[in-house]
Structure formats: C-alpha cells, structure tokens
Amino acid sequence: MKLDEIKIGGMGASRRRVEDNRFIRGKGNYVDDIVLPGMLHMEILRSPVAHARIKSIDVSAAWDVPGVRMVLTGEMMAARNLAWMPTLSYDTAAVLATDKVRFQGQEVCAVIADDPYIAKDACGKIVVDYEILPAIVNPVQAAAADAVQIRDDKAGQVGNKVFDWEIGDKARTDKAFADADVVSKIELHYPRTHPSPMETCGSIADYDRATGKLTVYMTSQAPHIVRAAVAMVAELPEQNIRIVTPDIGGGFGNKVPIYPGYVIAILASILTEKPVKWIEDKTGNLVSTGFGRDVYLKGEMALRKDGKILGVRMNTISDHGAFFADAQPSKFKIGLMHSAFACYDIPTAHMFATGYYTNKAPGGVAYRCSFRVTEAMFFQERMVQAAADDLGMDQAEFRRVNFVKDEQHPHRTAFGFLTDSGQYEKCLDIGLEAIGYKNFAAEKAEAAKRGRLLGIGISVMTEPLGAGNSREYDILGIKMFDSAELRIHMSGKALLRTGSRGQGTGHETTWAQIVAHELGIPADDILVEEGDTDTAPFGMGTYASRSTPVAGAAIAMVARKVRAKARKLAAHLLEVSEEDIEWELGRFYVRGNQERGVTIQDCAMAAYSNMPDGMEPGLENVAYYDPPNLTWPFACYIAKIEIDPETGVWDVLQFVAVDDCGVRINPMIVEGQIMGGLTEAYAMANMQYQTYDEEGNIIGGNYMDFLLPTAWETPGFELYEVVTPCPHHPIGAKGVGECATVGGPAAFVNAVMNALKEKGVRNIDMPMMPNRVYEALTTGKDIYGMPPVRSGN
C-alpha cells in the first residue's frame, strides 16, 4: 500500500498554508504586537536637511517632558564607542550623528519615554542648530572636482568615490568591437526605489542585568547575522545574545541590514534596565532604510550583420547614498551585476563599475533581488531590444539567434558564471504563443484605427539565485551556507528548525513538504520553527531567493541523515541485515518481500524504546549545506500594452509569464510569489520611485508620493511553467521569489518603447509615468530620470 505523496502534503502538493491559520484570525505575532512588562518606547529625531554641520544640540527641554526616561545624542553614543557602526560592505555608518548629518532623515537623537506619544512630543522639543552645506543628489555632482566632501569623517577618503571595480576581458572585448559590423548603444537610469514592506522595521531590546542576557525581538530577515553583529558592535558575549524574529510583515531585502534604531534601542535597554520598543513610522522607513537600485547604466553591443552578438561593454555608476551599506557578498562591489547576459551566448564582455557617495539615504539592498541582478537583467533586456531594433531584426528572432542552446550547458558566461541548465527557447516559444505574437501586427494596425498605440515587449533572462557556494560568496568573511535540524519524536511527529527566516514566503508550509517527500511523514505532523537564534541552527538568513536553494537543500540532506539511521532501526526491527532493506515513501521493507516492513513511525518509536545494543538513542540530526553552485531559474515575460497618445497613459492588455524554477515544492506558493513579483515589476515600471530635489529633500518619503499599485490598477497575469530540475540541488529546486521582479520591468518598458518605435524615442527611464510618456511621444526625445527633479515635475 504505497503512500500518496500529494495526500500527505509532499512535493508538488498545493498544500494550504499552515501560517494562514493565525493570520486570518488576526493572531499573527508581529514585533509591534509584543508587549513586555515595564516596556519603554523610543522615538528617533531625524535630520530635516540633507547635508549640514551640527553646531549644537540642546536636549534639555526634551528631558523636562513628564514621562521621558532618557534622551540619547551622538555624543552620548560616542562616549560608549557606539556613534558609528560597521556596514555590511566594509564601511562605517553613523548610528546617531555627531559631526554632520549626511542625508535627510538621518538619525540625530533618540528619546525613550513611557509612551510613544510622549517620546514623539519630546523629540519636538529638541533644538538642533545646523550649518547647511551643499547637497549632492547624483553621481555627476559627486564626481565634480569642486564637490563638497561628504565623508570627511573617513581618514584617507579622497573626493566622493566609493570604489572602482571591473570584471571581464577588456582587450578581447575591444577587439570584438573593432571587428563589429554594427555597434548598438544604450544609456539609462534604474531609479532609486524602496522595498517598502507593509510593516516597517522595529525592535524590542530587553537587557537583563541580573543574567547578562540580551534578548532582541526584531524584524530581521537574517537573525543570526544580527547576533554576530551585536556581539561585535556591543561587545557582548554571543551566548548571551538572543535574537528573536517574530512574524515579519514583508521584507523584500529591506530587513536584512542592521539599522541605527536597533543599536540605539539596545543601548537604551542596557542603560534603563527596561525593555525598549522602537517601531519606525512609514516615513522613517522610506527615508532612512535600505533602498534598492539607483544605478546609471551605459552599454554597447558589438554585432555582426546577421544578428550574432560579438561582445558587450557595460559601464555602471551607482549612487550609494551617505554610507556604503550595500547588503551583498563582499567580493563583489556592485553585486552580481555581471550576471547580465547569462542566457546569451556571447564570446566576450567587459564591465567597469564606479560607486559614489551622495547626500541620500544609504542602502543598496537587494530589493527582491539577488544582489543587483535586477539592474543586470533590466539592462540586458533593454540592450538586447535596442540591438534588435538597430539591426532591424525581429525582437524574438534576435534573442533566439543568440540564446545559449539547451545542449550547451554547463555553460561558462562571458563574465565567468557557470549556468548549469536552461531551456530559454522553449520558454520564449510558450510565451509568444500565449500572447499571440503572430497576430500582433494586425492588432496594432487595428488599434491605430482607434487612435491607440500598441506595443509588445519581451524579457527573457536567467539569473543566479541562492548564494553561495562558500568559495565565492561570503558576507564580511562569513561563508554563505545554511542549515537545518530535524528531530523525530517517538510518535513519529517531527520538529524542524532552520537558519532561514520566512517573511510571508510560506516556510512553515513548504519546509514540512520537503521532509514529507524525504521521509513520508505527513506534512501536518511536522512543526517548523525559525527565527530564534537560541534554538535555530546557524544560517545566513532569507534574501536573494536563497531559502529554497540553500536551506531547502539542507532540509533534504538532514532528512536523508535521519533516514539513514532509521534504516538501521528498521533492520533491527525486521531482524535482517541493513543491506537487505529497501525504502519506499514512508516505509522500509525486506528486499523480495514487500509485505514485510516497518513504517518510519515504527522506527521513530524504536529509537526511543527498542534500539539495538550499542546504538545511540533518539532520531535527530543537523545538516549544514554549502551549495556547489548558484541555482539558475529562467523566465520569459511578455507584455502587450496600449498607449493613449492624448494622455500618455498606458494600460496592460495582456501579460504572460513563463517561469522555470525547477521542481516546484508547492505550486500554489510558487505562483503566489510570481504574481507578487510581477506586481512589484509593474510598480517600478509605472509609478514607484524615489527622487530628490536639488536641496536633497526626498520625494517619495510617504505613500502620497511613493506610489504602490492598488488592486484597481494592478493588471492580471497569465502564468505558464517549464520544469528543468536544478542538476545539483538535492530535490531539483531553484529559487523563485525574485524572478518576476527581476525580469518583469524590462517587459513593460520594452513594450512601451515598442509602441513608440516610430516616434524616434529610444528610452524613457522608469517609472514611465504618463507625463514622461506624453513628453516623449510629443517631442520624440528620450526622457532621463536623473535627480534633482525638474521644477514642476
């Protein structure tokens, strides 16, 4: 009687989510829901200006507000060596400003009071005298010879440059360009945007002086990294630090870094000996925490007349804000930008990258992205589109000619990555069929009769998800592996813990499905726990779509270790030698006699009640998994849009997504991830960005200016799948959470550009708001989005 894997909630089951049971009842446990006895509340006073020397700070009136317990300034932090903290990119960032403020919204003072309203009142009583300095809001200003130096705190810092970095073969690439029939060029800005999860960041620090134990409840996608950082920064012994991440109201990369608020709340708890809660407001989140993108990209493509790509040059200039605080593997200064063009067979490529400080919020987090992969794939597909147009080739055909063919895998890309599998052409064909590509010309002509401009845009890409391997990927020297710990109780029920941390991504549901697949224990019998560093094994956290590629693999491996021990127990119970035991889902049996067997549950009971002489009791294990390579999901996204030329408004008529993320553990959750990702792609293409005026005032610091699409404007998406198992992952899975956000934007922009092709417009920087589209189609000129914003915009 073979177990039905779908029925026990194993691989491939669209199992309804376990975590929903509390969320739909309003019984989630987010950090702001936690109340500790005697808890105080912290509020942060932020800088109203972008760049200024602090002449004086007078906090006396704040101390006088009844209910205020403490007021902290940069000077008080400095006295404890906490005014500055290390970033994830070998730089330093201010915790509370001492000398200067370097961006609008920077943390200047903190008030700790009995009540959040009182803390806010008291912040209003603080008087700071600023001497205003010129504000720098783009890399051109930052690079100017007479530019004011932003980081005058750093010994040896010259000007405002953060880094120069290059990769690829310059000489060979130069040769390819010399030999080219046609050289195609493109220049664009991927605007600054913000992950903006619905829940802001926050924490409760609870220091117990009697035991020396510090417990911090916080919104972190990577609690173990926080523990290590707190041990280093606050010089507390690591065993006395417990980081607990309760339910997270969305992360998208925003909750990876360590922010000043966390550090200040910890110090405040140590000083007041009371729990201190800090909950950021929405503006605080938007103006000061990790943003995404803000990269200027120039590219050139060397082409042969028949459409073959001979070489690519990329030049990136990135705006990092006041502190270099990118959350990314340390060896790569501009993330995995060089993963661009991985799905195309290109002989040679070269990239030069430069980063600058500006008077803008620090960050550069991987916003629903595997470290700048979003910029890479956007650039790739915009460049490919421009090249096809310059050659006068059909956009689908040009891609087809240049794809890495299925049988070419494993394939070394021009920038040195190794892609291990891919069926790009198959994806493209499914997408073209679904969108009705053959009929598009007729449709376009029909729409023209109604006065509307139709456009179709393609984006095909493969992207690297799931860092590491540990040879190449580390953060500040800590290797990027992950872990899982599995304990089988005597009744055959199980407890699984991992070092990853779900944030709405359904770990509690899918992790149990992997164990069900490996052991045949029904998923409903498996409790998944994450996010408490006192109980979970060490892990690097959840971002860059790394949970399934790394932690998911660790879960499969630990289950196999447990199965290996269960096999010995089975042999003992069946009174045969281990070599004579066969496995089928959930059950061992004697070879040649399938009727004679024991279940995994029988083995679990035996581990506690009837183990063979000399065997260690219990049935549990831990696995640390260091992946041999990244996983390479791939996708084809095609958008069909219609522009109203009288207003510049564009609507999505149809959107097709073909995703290959390998074996799907829970298809329902995978599709949820893709639809959510496409919505963020649509948001960036259409409305969602942050910019600055010439004084460094942020525009996009609240939900009136920073627009998220609602149910009303979000288009519907049609989803299709291709399954190419990842060759090195134990269950053939790949990352998926970010594919749609990475590949989606270029489909929308290429579609709008396709509609405007006859107008001579080559580029409109995102977001393609109606005023930008209208200006482009009436003037025939490209629209660039570099801040400062023009007056009246």
């Binding site: 309804r16 929903d20 309003g26 009540d115 949820g672 919505t679 939900y703 149910a711 979000t714």
Partner: protein, 175 residues
C-alpha cells in the same frame, strides 16, 4: 450586549486631560480612559489588546488598520478614540464565531490570498463591508472596493478570487 468593563489607563502625561470612552467592539462594551489625541487604532491595539488591527503607514494610505465603524469601513489610524465613543467597531478578531471561520477567512486561505499577513485583517474587513452591501460583486467591483488597501506580497489577483469564493459561499448559505 455583554458588558465587559475595563479600566485601562494608557499613561497620559500629567497635564493632559483624560476622557472616558466606551466602544462596542465586536459586540462587547469596552471602556477605557484615554487622552483625547489617542488614535482609535492605538486604543484597539494597546488598551483592548486587539493586535489584529495593524498600523502600516499612519497616513490613511495603506488600509492595514481598516475596521468597520457602525458597519462602514474606516481607517482606524485616522480616527480618534474619543470619536468612537458610543459607536460600534468590528475588528478581525470578531470575524470568526466560536465554532467556525467567516467565509472570507476560509476564502483567503483557500485561494492563497495572503503571504506576510500584515494587510490581511484590513483587507478582509474592507471586503466584509463590500459583501454586506453586495453579495454578488464583479471582479471590478471587488478591485474598486479594495483599492484603499495596499498589499505588497500577492499582486491582488488571489485576493479578488478569495472574495469571490466567500461571496459564493455566503450566497449558498442564504439559499
């Protein structure tokens, strides 16, 4: 109406006046002494410990704090607790009965209409208001009714399906 009476004082500063308010929350009369400036969202969360109502943006944009006020959806971060004195408020905690879930709760789970869960309570309350007026809504009517509630995870498609799922079940229950 049961009368659970509470005396809760949320630390008003000493020179601030205090008002007593009684709000009929999910069918129970609940009383608290509050500062006049206290927001309804904070009254629910802090005084009444109903933490299912979330505060997302503090500026009436995101809708995570949506509750029903005398049956109509409002954003509780933009109403003062004293304005709710004597009124009826329904929160997510009042959706399920002791024995069963509300069809919207079932629908949200069945159709995978939530991921991080932060917007979910407000989303369900806005949907409840819609279904109380219109038990047979079109997709456009649902999208319009929920356009004051932001979700960052799902892309809304499954939320629309969940509301349709609930509407169908509620219609079937009527017959």
């Amino acid at each position: 109406m049961s009368s659970l009476y509470e005396e809760i004082n949320i630390a008003p500063a000493s020179d601030v006046p205090v008002r007593q308010v009684t709000v009929y929350v999910n069918g129970e009369a609940r009383t608290a002494n509050v500062e006049p400036r206290l927001l309804l969202a904070h009254l629910l969360r802090q005084a009444f410990k109903l933490t299912g109502t979330h505060t997302g943006c503090d500026t009436t944009n995101c809708g995570a704090c949506t509750v029903l006020f005398d049956g109509r959806p409002i954003k509780s971060c933009t109403m003062l607790a004293v304005q709710a004195d004597g009124h009826k408020v329904e929160t997510v905690e009042g959706l399920a009965s002791a024995s069963e879930l509300h069809p919207l709760q079932e629908g949200f789970k069945q159709e995978h209409a939530l991921q991080c869960g932060f917007c979910t309570p407000g989303m369900m309350m806005a949907a409840k208001a819609l279904l109380e007026e219109n038990l047979n809504p079109t997709e456009d009517e649902i999208r319009w009714a929920l356009s004051g509630n932001l979700c960052r995870c799902t892309g809304y498609q499954n939320i629309v399906k969940a509301v349709l799922w609930a509407a169908e079940k509620m219609r079937a229950e009527l017959n």
